[in-house]
Symmetry: C2
Subunit: 215 residues, 2 copies
């Protein structure tokens, strides 16, 4: 099973690596990190790099596509890749052949820019909900949204990609494998606070979050 | 605040990127990915690369050190870096100046190899508990273990690094910042199953987990 992860400058690394450390453990998984440029994709002010081993035209028919988000995808800091015709065209082409096309965080804006979300329920990072609507999607607050008929799954911000990937692992490999992967990555979360959702965090904290140095 | 992440061939990428996407958001964070070799550190059968921008001798006094785990650290697949004198010597030297020296997953074995866990309560991935004891640590099943006097924090397997990093963010920057980071990464987990801990998963699933293609 070929699984492609889009990587790009300004990616939020956990958007990609959360799902990767789940889906990469599927029996027979062959993962390809794909980017508009081959080589290191820089992010978080240049402090971190994920590595694209493949150019877009080298990956044409993955079974699963994961499109992570981040400032480079679009949203708060400008439209980013969501309006890049090369990238959105590639996503649109690849989607014709995938079993599942998925996004994490503002990766949903790239799916939107590719025209894949028209009329679909979809989720994204809480700061990008309005942007999502501009692509004809119906934004919802769920952590993971599965649009089965369209073969599209969207996940909310950053860490939600882990939950998305475990559900996807179940759909493609069955519950035993998904449960075993959850044990392998010891995913028995103990979040220290109850502030991980915009529906739960008090307004004062939302303002702190908006002013932190990384969007 | 300088924060060093050790990266190496055979790292489990989520061990590093989970905490990075928390600690990298701290105001004033300056993160350095440090490795025994500069450049891409390959893992998961070569499918994924994290990028070491710094050699060990270029990072001598970080405020926080994060040591991730993975097959390259030691444990199931052999002793790995936990018996590498260059790496363990660097960890031991750096620890003298850190505010906090931390590990995720089998990164604890590298701390152990550096002699930092003698007599301390510590945690690691469930498959490496026995290895941890060989370094004089007292293995416990907690998800995050803080040994305040020794300035050492260990976290359990893979995804536990996110919980560890949020608690650490609180200790170094206060609860408001930690809570806001939890909102930024939308960490409001919805694990699909209750199999994320060795204390909860049925024996049959533990066997499935042991036989999956990625350790």
């Amino acid at each position: 099973m070929e699984i492609a992860f889009l990587v790009f400058d300004g990616i939020t690394p956990l958007d990609a690596i959360g799902p990767f450390d789940v889906l990469g453990r599927l029996p027979g998984a062959k993962v390809k990190f794909v980017g508009p440029q081959k080589g290191p994709a820089r992010t978080m002010g240049g402090m971190c790099a994920l590595y694209a081993d493949y150019a877009l035209d080298e990956v044409t028919a993955p079974d699963i596509l994961v499109v992570p988000g981040g400032p480079g995808a679009g949203g708060i800091s400008g439209p980013g890749l969501s309006v890049d015709p090369v990238v959105t065209g590639w996503v649109r082409d690849v989607h014709r052949k995938t079993q599942w096309t998925t996004s994490v965080c503002t990766g949903a804006l790239i799916l939107g820019g590719a025209g894949l979300l028209k009329g679909l329920r979809a989720t994204t990072h809480w700061r990008a909900e309005k942007d999502l609507a501009t692509f004809g999607a119906k934004p919802v607050h769920d952590r993971v949204v599965v649009e089965k008929q369209s073969r599209v799954i969207t996940a909310a911000g950053v860490s939600s990609g882990i939950d998305m990937a475990l559900r996807l692992a179940d759909m493609v490999a069955g519950p035993d494998i998904a449960k075993a992967i959850q044990l392998q990555i010891e995913y028995d979360p103990e979040p220290p606070y109850d502030t991980g959702s915009i529906l739960k965090a008090p307004p004062r904290l939302v303002e702190v979050a908006r002013t932190l140095n990384r969007p």
